[in-house]
Every structure is written in structure tokens, then in C-alpha cells.
Amino acid sequence: MKRQPSDLDPDLRPGDPGPAPRGSRSARRRRAWLAVALAGGLFAAACGSDGDSGSDPAGSSGSSSTEAPEVGADEVDADATVRAAFSAPTRTLDPHTSDFPSDPLYNSPVFDRLTRMAPDGNSVEPMLATEWTFVDDGKALELKLRDDVTFHDGEAMDAAAVKASIERAKTLPGSTAAPKLASITAVEVVDDHTVRLVLDGSGGAELPVTLTGNAGVVMSPAAVASGRPLDQDPGDAGSGPYRVVDFKPNEQVVYERVDPYWDDSEIRAKRLEISFIADAAARINGVRAGQLDIAFIAGPQVANAVGMVDRGEIQGLLVTARVANTIMLNTTRAPLDDVDIRRAVNFALDRAAISEGLYEGTCEPMLQPYEEGNWAHVEAIDELYPSDVEEARRLVEASGVADPGFELEVGAAGASQPLAEAAKEMLEQVGISVTVKPVPAIEVFPRFAAGESQAVVLGIVPGGDPNTIVADFIVGGLKLARGDDPGTRRVAELARAGVDPTLSQDERAEVYDELLTIVSEEAWYAPVCRAQYLFAHSDALVGADSGMYGAWTGVPDFSNLGIRA
């Protein structure tokens, strides 16, 4: 099974200066090759698949991720337009008020962030900040900034701009970035190119990762000072590789390249068009008919598109995303307040059968949120719940629960509904009756968080730092930790300890090792499989490889794509 090549730097600590300013795409590709070598036969086997379309679609279709030939800048058409299609629209281009997880796709071409995740999602790379260090015993995060960046309006990107942007993110009405910056109490300008984020002492180790998202966007101070809304027209507020020339909310965003751009090592097209096309079949047809250069494919259509890649009809980059299809269990509602029932749920699920039966193998069976190769991966958890119907039955009997049935809520008509139905069948085989209850997709999360549902199916994005899953799903957000038992209390302690900025990454890994082990052993959730996405693309497209930023989340950055001359 193919995996994302990992170029994790295991020695990088949150308190350490970041790596040197990243190199060109070629350099990153060389790192990817190194990681491929480290990954050993696993990846080699995938890449070596030749014409065996049925045995390993991931490997056979993932050729573009590592086998794509190097393309020099002179081989890319400088006047070309890249036409991309995605499955979700956007309503706002203001990153601070972005209200859907896919919004970064649309605002990343315009707005640079202080940091960004490496293409594999395992480490943080410099972007506008060249390095970052926790100072004053972890009470502040100091960032050194690039000195060669200007905004589209001509203003210099400096410490004052960072201060203005973070203050805007924290105070703008409707800001979705504000909660992520809650631990920052003040922003101090040290000098023109050094800024200090003063922390409230509650944590902050996750900030370098947080600043890769909308919370780390830096805007022109003039645009911030003007107070004008940026949601429909960001104008010249960004410093990114493109500026918006046309925005039709819910339909399409058209961008035009900005020259010069501080990072001239990246491939860029003259124009970039990102369209929302709801129907996956239409997106694939668009690529096949030559009307689109790249299209994002998810869900049941992935297996179909992989077949087309195998037959040579289209090119494709298959990505095992860090998006976990998971059944969340409410530990305060009977019968799921009984740990034996929750463990029985985990043993009863035949994850491999679900992956094969529902997704034709394009959903990788999993038992924990972080994949092998990530620093928060816990090896022991992978052995915890093999498919074992007998053990599940034994646990149900041992629990003594008379009627071990529950309602499983799922987004109506969404991709998770077949998974819920499959889980129902498997659980009923071990004596747990399940009623699948479709609810509006956007209601699934808040209903569970409010304790109104017994169990839900969610596709969760554990993020680039384990604090994300802790803050969004375990202790905060969805609130899986809701009991009053020693395990819950310990998880709360560990959650606080995990964001201590004075800890090294290895020390943090130990904290999250214990935390995630408790969550798994107490069976607060039942992870099922990790989604695979396909980026279907044309022969002429350049840049849709493992270096495509954000591919690991399924929400990529299309800024660095081009068309072969």
C-alpha cells in the first residue's frame, strides 16, 4: 500500500529554529526521494506495480507522485492558465472569516502565512517567517521574518504587518481564527523583521502549526487599517503568488499571477481558475475532455477514477490523506457508557472488509488518527483491536447490558452513510443493535458535542499537530472526554501538558502517546479507515506531485501548478 513519502525531520523541536528557508521544488522532491528510500519496500512495491490494475490501485496510480520527471522553469508555459475543479465552494475570500475547512484552497493563492506544513504534513516549514523560537521559558514565541516580501499594494511585509494581522484575526467580528490564537495575549514588534507573540502561559507549543492556517495569514497593514471587508474582494491585501481578478461566490475564483513574487523557485501559471463542481463525474469528465487540468476526486468515485488512471485515460495523484473516518462514541449515554460495549464495537468492525467492500481498497484501515511515520503515531495502538467477532461477542456478554443497542447518526446522503450501514451490519452480528439515523451533515458535530447523540460517524482531520485532535475532538470541540473517571481526568492533564512550549518534540510525543493510548484503550472512538483522494489531472499539468502543499489534508494549494510548454 502506497503511503505519502515522509520527509519528517525527527529532530525538529517546536522550540528550535525552523529549518533553513526551503529550497526549490526540486530540492523538496529530492527529500521525498530520500524518504521513499527510508520507507523501504513498502513504497517501492507500490511504485513498482506495473499494469496490475486490480491488485494495488494506490501504487499503480500514484506514479505521478514520485515518477514525475523534473520540469525546468523554461519547460513551463509562462502564459498558460491552470483550470482546477474542487468539490466544495467558497463564500468568502477573507481568511480570517473562512467558514469551511476547504476555504484555504481558495485563499492560499492570495495570502501567504507565517509558516506552512511540509508537503507530507509531518513538519512545519518556513514561509513568511524564516525561523521561530520559544523564548522567556515558553512565555513567548519569537519569529524572524523575511525581509524581501512586499504586499500586492507595494507595502513591505514586516513585523508591524504581522502585528496588525494577528490583532485583526483576534478581534474581527465573526473571525474563525480568533479561537486558535486565544493563547496570544499581545503581539510585540521587536524590530522590523522580528515579532514576538506573548503567550498567556496556557500552552502554545502548537502555534507553529496553527500559524500555517488562517490564523497565520499576514495582510497588508493598509488593508487592515482601511477596515474594508475582504470577503468578496481581497484586492491587494495579500502577498501571495496570485491576486483575485474575478470571484463568483459558490462558483469560481479566477486569479492572475503577481510578478515579482518573493519565491521565484516555484512553478506558477499566468492565470489560475478554481471552479466548484459538485458532481464528481462531471469533474472527471472535465479532465478527460481536456477542459480541466486538475480535479479533486473523493469518496466512491476514487476507485472509478483510479481505474481510469490504470487504463491510461487520465493521470492521477493518489493521496492517503490524514482524514479519518471514525465512529465517535458518547461515553455518558447507555449502553456506550460501558467500556466493554465500546471495545466490542472496535473488535466487531472488520476494517479491511469495509475498505474493500465500500471503497474498493481506497480507504486505508486504521486504528488511530496519525499514520505511521508521523511523530504522534503510537505503534502499540495498531495491535489493539484486530477484527475479532468472538471477542466482541464475549465482551457484549461480559458487559451484562440487557439491550446493547444505540443510534448511530450520520450526515444525510453523505459519503459516510454507507459506512454507517456497513458498521450496523457488523455490530448486529455481535449482538449490538444499531439504528442508523441520517441528520443534516452540518448538525452531526454540534449534536454530539452537545451530548444529544449516542454515536456519530465523522470524517475528522487530525491536523498537523496532535493538539488539533485533542482540542477539536477529544477535550475540546466534539468533547469525547466527557466522563468523570480517572482516564478522563488523566487525558485532561495530558492535554495541558502536551502544549507546553518548553517540551521537545520527543517529550511531546511521549505525552500524546499516553493520551492517545488512553483514548484507544477506553475506546472513546472506533477509527475505521483513512480516506484516499485522487487528484485527476491532464498530461500537460506540472506540479501535481508529492510536493503539492496540503494534499495530505485533501485541501491542496493549487498555487504551484503549471502547464508544460
Binding site: 463542481i277 459538485a278 448538525e443
Partner: protein, 309 residues
């Protein structure tokens, strides 16, 4: 008579829009959360609820919308964040283009097929027309659309698989982009027209006045086109009017298959986004259009056949 017919449409418009209001209100889920977005804070969700007065009873919200609509103010789309009237105009242009080309294709194919089948009744041509019509009646437009895309866009690249170009931008590309969607959408009405023309024309051709015309020595072409077809066309016009109203509804699926930014696509995204102002605008506009179409069909039928006046 025209004013009376238009006035009779007002209660229908009220019933349709109120029914929509109630249906959307009864749908499960919290519209405030849906509109605020997945990542919105609770404060933002509550602000949206207050802004849209979602805590007020459905009747008072409806009366408030009605008062605004009466002044010609349809409000702003909650999803696209633009005036509903502007969005209606821009998206209606696409749907009107699609329906107009579809109707032209359906009328031409239907009349040609129907006339050919009627004048050679029982022949191979007749059997081919009736068989193809039966198949076309059974095939859903979206399925036919997908098949057309595979043959003519993916395999041949003769016509685009997706997207739309405005008539004003490039008339030739406008037509190229509408060929496949209009063929997919036209199959059913063309089949209906063909069968209707065949039946009406066959009946007319066996009538006394046609026998008289033939006895007078008129050429067969003149008998068919001038005498028989003129009377045969009236029932076809009724079908055409009825079908035109249905085409607007049928455009929803075809617009999705071919990614045309028309009223159908707008309606679908508005339903998923619980965009009430936009939905009301679309429903009110399409109701008015259907009322007007029915009126026009009646007037044209009466003009062609004075006995209907």
C-alpha cells in the same frame, strides 16, 4: 382576458411561495448553523439567527418577505452574498439559452420525424420514428447527457463536457457548449412532438377537406404542409407549452451534468445552503414564467385555430 388570467395567477404565487417557506422550515437541521458555516463560532451562529429572525414564527417571516417582495426587493442571497435579483438575471440567461436551444432542437426533430412518419405510415421510416421515440421517452435526460459526453466530449472532443460561454462573449462557443445539453434535454420533448405530429397529421390526412384538396389536384406537398399540418399543429402547440414548463424543471439535472450555471444549479445549491431568499426568488420567478407560458400558449392556439377563441 389577459389581465384576468394574470390576476388568477396571484393566489397561485402566494400558495407556492408560502408552501416553500413552510417546507424549508420543516426540514431538519438548524438553518443558522448551515448558513454560518461549519467553522463558525457559536456567537456567529447566534448572530445569523438574530439577523434572519429565525426565532420568529414562519408566518411573520413570510409576511415580512412578502412585503419586501411587493416593493420589488427580493433581498440578498445568503450564500452568494449578492442581490437575489442580480443572480436571477445572470443565471436565468443560462437556463433560457438552454431551454431555447432545446426547444428549437425538439421542434425541428419532432416535426421532421412526425411528418415523415405520418406521410409514410407503416413504412420503415414510420417504424424507426416510433421506435426511437419510445426509447427517447424512456431514457432519463441526465443519463443520455452522460452518454453524449463520453462519445462526443471524452472520446471525440467535438463538444465541451462542462462549462458555459455567454452568447455575448462568443456566439459560436455559446452554441457549441449547448449542443450536448440541449440534445440530452430535447430527446423527450422531440419524441413527444414526433408522436403527437404523427397522430394529428395522420388524422388530418384522412379527413374530408384533405380528400377535397387532393381531388382539386393540389400537389401532395401543398396538401400536407398547407392544409393538413395547419390543423394538426394545434394539439402539438398545447404539448409544446406544457413541455416548455417541464423543461425548466428538467434543466436542473442537465445543468448539473454539464456544469451549466443556470437556475437549476442555483436552485440546488440554494436548497443545500438553506438560502431562503434565493430559493423564494427562484420559485417566484419560475412560477411567473410558467403562468406566462401557459397564457401565451393559449393565445397562440386561439390565433391559429379561431374555433378556440
Amino acid at each position: 382576458m389577459i389581465l384576468r388570467r394574470l390576476a388568477a395567477g396571484v393566489p397561485l404565487l402566494l400558495v407556492v411561495t408560502f408552501a416553500l417557506f413552510v417546507l424549508v422550515d420543516l426540514a431538519p437541521g438548524d438553518p443558522a448553523r448551515l448558513i454560518a458555516g461549519q467553522e463558525a463560532t457559536e456567537e456567529r451562529v447566534e448572530a445569523v439567527r438574530d439577523e434572519l429572525k429565525l426565532d420568529e414564527p414562519v408566518t411573520s417571516r413570510y409576511v415580512s418577505w412578502l412585503a419586501s417582495a411587493g416593493r420589488g426587493e427580493l433581498g440578498d442571497s445568503l450564500v452568494a452574498r449578492a442581490p437575489v435579483s442580480e443572480l436571477l438575471v445572470s443565471h436565468a440567461a443560462v437556463t433560457i439559452s438552454l431551454v431555447a436551444v432545446t426547444l428549437a432542437v425538439a421542434v425541428v426533430l419532432g416535426f421532421l420525424g412526425g411528418v415523415a412518419a405520418a406521410v409514410r405510415r407503416g413504412s420503415l421510416v414510420d417504424r424507426a420514428v416510433t421506435t426511437m421515440s419510445a426509447v427517447a421517452l424512456a431514457v432519463p435526460a441526465f443519463w443520455l447527457g452522460m452518454i453524449l459526453v463520453i462519445f462526443f466530449s471524452v472520446n471525440r472532443r467535438w463538444f465541451p463536457a462542462i462549462d458555459y460561454i455567454g452568447l455575448g462573449e462568443d456566439p459560436l462557443e455559446w452554441l457549441r457548449h449547448l449542443v450536448l445539453p440541449s440534445l440530452a434535454l430535447a430527446a423527450l420533448p422531440a419524441a413527444e412532438f414526433a408522436l403527437q405530429v404523427r397522430e394529428s397529421l395522420t388524422s388530418a390526412l384522412s379527413s374530408d377537406y384533405v380528400a377535397t384538396a387532393r381531388a382539386k389536384g393540389l400537389p401532395e406537398r401543398q396538401v400536407v404542409l398547407k392544409h393538413a399540418l395547419r390543423n394538426a399543429v394545434v394539439p402539438v402547440l398545447t404539448v409544446l407549452g406544457y413541455r416548455l414548463a417541464q423543461l425548466i424543471g428538467g434543466a436542473v439535472t442537465v445543468e448539473s451534468v454539464f456544469v451549466l450555471p443556470g437556475l437549476g444549479s442555483l436552485a440546488v445549491s440554494s436548497v443545500f445552503g438553506r438560502d431562503m431568499p434565493m430559493l423564494l426568488g427562484i420559485v417566484a420567478a419560475t412560477t411567473v414564467v410558467v403562468l406566462v407560458i401557459n397564457l401565451v400558449v393559449d393565445l397562440v392556439s386561439a390565433w391559429i385555430n379561431p374555433r378556440l377563441r
